[in-house]
């Protein structure tokens, strides 16, 4: 396991503006034709924090991610990035701010190789225009080689070197999950949204992924929001946990507190019928 050098990862701890939190999600209300997906949900994520969102199926966890990414436009509320309102911005603009994401059902570019997928993650960190690209010699080649070096660092970090030139559609599920994480890391994000990174994985793969998440946090100091059903993982690694149920926030706090919260127990285990 090689620790990635300074060639990827971001410069955090730099001048902090007039904002208190990295991300503020305030009274966000999202509904689809009468079905309420998020009902006045609020939370904040600080720099360097590993924030987890849990809840039963359909609680609104992925919808929360889609709101942050700009894929969904909430009807009410505000979403602030470093104090700046980003609600209603296009997904690609939000990505440019430094928000990266992995998806619950792998959303890799199936016909591209592992390497190409990771290089695509460098899109926001590179500038080559199409005409530079068409000429190749000069700026395009220089940037291409620099991107390649950065991509190789990530490939090394995630231990996927042997699959480098494979089209991702051919790879096993666990490796695809890792490639997706690599693509997100290539964006040199400040906030990483992980949507069920260990869903469907066996114990060994889960432990590998947990190790990568902890390494990302400690060595690259990237803030993370983690959506996950694996309670063991969440309670082990998260700093704070938010619990959603039917689009409502029913609890927020440190893992130990959440485990004792009666509302959470009720949401997960159900309520005793009064007789």
């Amino acid at each position: 396991m090689t620790a990635p050098g300074s060639s990827f990862g971001t410069s955090h701890g730099a001048a902090r503006g007039d904002h208190d939190h990295l991300l503020e999600f305030e009274d966000v209300h999202l509904s689809f034709k009468g079905i309420t997906a998020l009902d006045d949900v609020s939370f904040t994520v600080d720099e360097g924090e590993l924030f987890a969102v849990i809840g039963p199926n359909g609680a609104g966890k992925t919808s929360t991610f889609n709101c942050i990414n700009g894929v969904y436009k909430p009807q009410e509320g505000t979403i602030r990035w470093k104090g700046e309102d980003i609600l209603g911005r296009r997904p690609d603009r939000i990505a440019e701010l430094g928000v990266a994401r992995t998806f619950q059902n792998i959303e890799l570019f199936a016909h591209m190789t592992v390497l190409e997928n990771i290089l695509l993650g460098r899109h926001i960190r590179t500038k080559t225009s199409w005409w530079d690209g068409a000429i190749w010699v000069g700026p395009a080649k220089r940037e291409e080689l620099a991107s390649r070096a950065a991509a190789e660092d990530i490939i090394d970090f995630l231990e996927i070197a042997r699959w480098r030139k494979y089209p991702v559609a051919m790879l096993p599920y666990g490796v695809q999950k890792r490639v997706e994480l690599g693509r997100a890391l290539a964006m040199e994000p400040e906030l990483l949204l992980l949507d069920e990174p260990v869903a469907g994985m066996n114990l060994e793969e889960t432990e590998d992924m947990a190790r990568f998440i902890l390494d990302i946090r400690e060595e690259l100091r990237i803030s993370m929001i983690l959506v996950e059903h694996d309670m063991g993982l969440v309670m082990d690694i998260a700093d704070r946990v938010m619990v959603l149920d039917f689009g409502e926030r029913i609890a927020i706090g440190p893992p130990a507190e959440i485990q004792r919260n009666p509302n959470v127990i009720k949401a997960y285990l159900g309520e005793e019928m009064e007789t």
């Binding site: 296009r90 690609d92 959303e107 890799l108 570019f109 199936a110 591209m112 080559t128 199409w130 068409a134």
Partner: protein, 412 residues
């Protein structure tokens, strides 16, 4: 290193257009053969040196350039377009307005090739960039329909603006391949007349062929470079998963518009080259059939690869000639003999008014299809066949053959 001399030792050598020694050598030999064909010195390829075949090879080069454009739009960015013929037309008529001779009824500025050729690409790209924002609001089959409409609108405009196109049926003369500094009478380099070049006697077909091969090589390099850099990966990401691409920071509409413009630029240059190469074009030429030909090139060659596109162009353009030769061969078999071979041939060709057959060699109306009609049917059958049985096209077949020999004598 001595024991493993061909390892990659730098990223620069790995991302090269032709990364391995084998590929470099093969490309060099192939290019050399292409360049030497008109001089009739390559053993086994001397039949290609004849003017007839050189014209066909030139046409392959022209169509391959246009197909590379569609490869960028459909193969890389995944946007199905049936409107390629429209942009070929835009390029052709830009070239003829700038480079063509004016007359009482026709517009023309008679400018030299170094103006009209780049301009044809630029204007087509501009038109593409103007239309694209509207077109890319829809995707898949809907985009195909929108671009289909474009071909019909385009054909109507081309027929109507007689001063530009010479009108339906008639068409007009296009500027020939001749390099002039400005409007002087004797060109600096003339590709359209027979005569010696550097002491070597060459026909106009040979000169045109060599010029078009140079253009094609440039187009291939540009297309390959686009594919292997940032913009190419952005196109492919939109093709594979557009929403994920957006979340990764790839601006959807912007990149689709760039893909459209780039593709149209290739199409525009093709239009200009086609005009100069054929000498005269009629506005009906830029029809749906031409668009289908480009789509056929992509699908038969193999969607998404430059090599596939080139294979497809060669196949689709040479096919009619092969059909014609083959029909001729069958017809002569029928006429000459009485054996079994002649009977079988008789089923396929009809040589007389009373003789039923699939393809007819008689001029004018006759039972069966004529060779051109049969080619259209053949394109259709090939498209269906490739889509069902070999979606990766000729390139896919090549990969399978290569892998077979790579792992031989094992099956995998």
């Amino acid at each position: 290193m001595r024991s493993r001399p061909r390892l990659y030792t730098s990223y620069a050598s790995e991302v090269a257009l032709l990364p391995t020694w084998t590929q470099k050598t093969a490309a060099l030999v192939f290019l050399l053969c292409l360049a030497l064909i008109p001089f009739d010195v390559v053993p086994g390829l001397s039949f290609l040196a004849d003017s007839d075949w050189l014209t066909i090879l030139s046409r392959v080069a022209v169509y391959a350039i246009g197909a590379l454009g569609l490869h960028i739009l459909s193969g890389l960015a995944g946007q199905v377009s049936l409107g390629h013929a429209f942009f070929v037309g835009v390029g052709a008529y830009t070239a003829v307005i700038l480079g063509g001779e004016a007359s009482r009824t026709l517009w023309g500025l008679a400018l030299p090739i170094w103006i009209w050729l780049p301009a044809s690409g630029l204007v087509a790209a501009l038109v593409g960039a103007l239309i694209a924002p509207v077109a890319v609001r829809v995707r898949g089959i809907y985009l195909a329909i929108v671009t289909l409409g474009l071909v019909f609108i385009g054909e109507w405009i081309f027929r109507s603006v007689v001063a530009m196109t010479g009108g339906a049926q008639a068409g007009r003369e296009f500027p020939a391949f001749a390099l002039r500094i400005w409007k002087e009478d004797t060109p600096f380099l003339d590709f359209s007349t027979d005569g010696p070049w550097f002491g070597i006697e060459m026909t106009s077909e040979a000169k045109t062929y060599l010029l078009l091969v140079v253009f094609l090589v440039v187009a291939i390099i540009v297309a390959k470079n686009i594919q292997r850099t940032r913009i190419g990966r952005a196109f492919m990401s939109i093709r594979d998963r557009d929403i994920a691409a957006e979340v990764m920071g790839v601006a959807d509409t912007r990149n689709k518009v760039i893909a459209f413009a780039l593709s149209s630029a290739f199409a525009g240059v093709t239009g200009a080259l086609l005009g100069a190469f054929l000498g005269r074009l009629v506005p009906e030429g830029f029809s749906l059939l031409m668009s289908i030909q480009f789509v056929a090139i992509l699908l038969i060659g193999g969607l998404g690869t430059v090599s596939g596109t080139l294979l497809g162009a060669a196949f689709v353009i040479i096919l009619p000639r092969l059909v014609q030769d083959f029909t001729g061969l069958l017809a002569s078999t029928v006429e000459s003999g009485t054996g079994l071979l002649s009977t079988i041939s008789g089923v396929f060709v009809s040589t007389g008014m009373e003789d039923p057959g699939i393809v007819s060699t008689l001029p004018g109306t006759s039972p069966g299809l004529n060779v051109a009609q049969f080619n259209v049917v053949l394109y259709g059958l090939l498209l269906i066949g490739f889509l069902i049985f070999e979606p990766l096209g000729l390139y896919g077949i090549w990969i399978r053959i290569r892998n077979y020999w790579k792992s031989w004598p094992f099956t995998y």
